[in-house]
């Protein structure tokens, strides 16, 4: 009975995660995009807690805690800070695909993932439909993140795509295989480095090093000489 309630909750959370994934593809306002990302991460943290309730594996609790600290609080607030400084509010330029097109493509991707997984995993889908659904949602989220990464033009939104890709990997890890905690921690460190690197890319990859520091000062990302005195 209790496990039934848990699996219902898991299904509802997965549905909400899919909704956030669609929003990640179609949102154009940057602040909204960051908010969607942090909601998505929050849902994953809850998901990990619920899965802990089902499976009693303490790693899942740790994953939930780390996800909450890093992805719900740290990364969104950092990106929010960069965003304010560089003063880009909306992303209107797209490569190859406009959001409407991306949504259709992502639908095709999900279908493909379903078909491929049901062939590859065979009777896993019948034995454990909930975990099969979770794995499919995870991989689809990953592919949708990839779609965001290549269809957006601004570096900062490309990074959002990359981040949601990683969320997909995490969901897949929670469901299908047992992702070792150390891998998850390493990925998180990667993410933090990535977000820091983003400042470099967004502020100016086209500049020389001297110019780069000037720009950092100009965007108030680096304490200027006057400020020190």
């Amino acid at each position: 009975m209790i496990s039934e309630i848990f699996s219902d909750v898991v299904r509802i959370i997965l549905v909400f995660i899919l909704i956030t994934a669609a929003l990640t593809i179609s949102t154009r306002t940057l602040s909204a995009l960051v908010r969607v990302y942090s909601i998505q991460s929050f849902l994953i943290a809850i998901l990990a807690c619920v899965l802990w309730g089902m499976l009693q594996e303490d790693t899942l609790l740790l994953i939930a805690a780390i996800t909450f600290a890093v992805k719900v609080i740290l990364i969104p607030s950092f990106i929010g800070k960069i965003q304010k400084r560089i003063n880009i509010r909306r992303d209107l330029e797209f490569n190859y695909l406009k959001p409407a097109g991306s949504i259709v493509v992502s639908l095709g991707l999900m279908l493909m993932v379903y078909v491929v997984f049901s062939r590859v995993l065979g009777n896993f889908a019948v034995v454990n439909p909930l975990f099969f659904l979770g794995a499919v949602v995870g991989v689809s989220l990953m592919l949708m993140g990839m779609l965001v990464t290549f269809s957006r033009k601004k570096t900062i939104t490309k990074v959002m795509g990359y981040l949601s890709m990683e969320n997909g990997v995490l969901i897949f890890g929670c469901f299908a295989t047992e992702l070792p905690l150390i891998v998850e921690v390493m990925i998180l460190i990667d993410l933090i480095i990535l977000v820091i690197l983003t400042t470099i890319l967004t502020v100016g990859i086209d500049s020389s090093l001297d110019e780069y520091q000037e720009r950092l000062i100009q965007y108030h990302l680096w304490p200027s000489e006057e400020a020190k005195e």
């Binding site: 909400f16 909704i19 409407a100 949504i103 259709v104 049901s118 659904l133």
Partner: protein, 316 residues
């Protein structure tokens, strides 16, 4: 075979929707006004408007034909017929084809067709522009609506709206989480079909934004009252469908039909409808009008969720 129960159903269902629809429309207006820091109209404003309009003189344009004269009546008739398809109080046995979701959609499409013709009929450039926009929008949205209907039919295993709602009213939403996805689609369709922001702006008569308002611009007196009332009924019908799918509790089955049950169901519908109207108002306040050519993105989201539902239902 039409029984006494069916007749009772028709009277109660259509009556309640007709009675409450202006209230829901006013609640949306009120919420929007509050969000903008204004007082907003009193809750019964639309009833006063309709009563006032009914006593006003009707003026026709010189170029207009019988279409202009019949459209308000046809629209009202179509909307009342559509109101029979969505049970909000109790669920009767299916009768006479009433309840079929495909028929429901095309009855509404017929209403829209008549309004568009009427927009052209008066010969004003605004009406023509409104009709042209309405037609291009409806050409794009029709596939989406059909996919939403298909998703509903896949999840609930029936094409009959009565059966759909009787299934959701016994089952838990948790056992059918895909209904949440369909509800997102239905909500978007509710917004698009009732010409609200971000698709259309129901408040202005600016030529840049007009779709629905453009088409009914030439109407006056009791005809305008009928057009406005039918628009309100359309919104209430879609709201009733969404409520029936997402939060159907309170709707009673025909077997246990008693007066107190009907009253409780009506009050519950009033409460749920008002909450939904507040949500619509908040949604509208948080959005700005979309550029005409970016509206298909909104349709695509609705399409995405329903197609996703079908994929999940078929494969999982």
């Amino acid at each position: 075979m039409i029984s006494g129960e069916s007749i009772l159903y028709c009277l109660i269902n259509a009556g309640i929707i007709l009675l409450l629809s202006p209230l829901f429309l006013t609640i949306v207006k009120k919420v929007k006004a509050r969000m903008q820091g204004r007082q907003g109209p009193p809750l019964f404003q639309m009833y006063y408007n309709i009563v006032k309009l009914l006593s006003k003189e009707v003026v026709y344009s010189k170029t207009s034909s019988w279409i202009m004269r019949t459209t308000p009546v046809v629209c009202m008739a179509v909307m009342i017929l559509a109101a029979l398809f969505v049970p909000v109080i109790f669920i009767p046995e299916s009768f006479g084809g009433i309840g079929n979701i495909i028929l429901f959609l095309y009855i509404l499409a017929f209403g829209r067709f008549m309004i568009s013709l009427a927009g052209l009929d008066a010969g004003s450039s605004f009406g023509g522009m409104g009709s042209s926009r309405e037609m291009s929008l409806s050409a794009v949205i029709e596939p989406t609506i059909i996919v939403v209907a298909a998703a509903l039919a896949t999840v609930l295993g029936t094409l009959d709206i009565f059966e759909m709602i009787s299934k959701t009213s016994v089952a838990d939403i948790a056992t059918m989480p895909t209904l949440l996805l369909i509800s997102v689609s239905l909500f978007l369709i509710l917004i698009i079909e009732t010409s609200r922001i971000p698709v259309d702006n129901p408040e202005t008569h600016l030529e840049l934004t007009m779709v629905h308002e453009g088409m009914i611009l030439e109407y006056s007196g009791r005809n305008l009252a009928l057009m406005e009332l039918s628009h309100a009924v359309k919104q209430a019908v879609y709201m009733g469908l969404l409520i029936g799918i997402l939060v159907p509790f309170g709707i009673i089955n025909a077997g246990s039909l008693l007066i107190p049950g009907i009253i409780i169901a009506a009050v519950l519908f009033l409460i749920k409808g008002s909450v939904l109207a507040v949500v619509i108002g908040l949604f509208e306040s948080s959005m700005s009008k979309m550029r005409f050519f970016s509206i298909p993105t909104l349709f695509m989201i609705a399409f995405f969720f329903s197609a996703l539902t079908i994929i999940i239902e078929v494969f999982a």
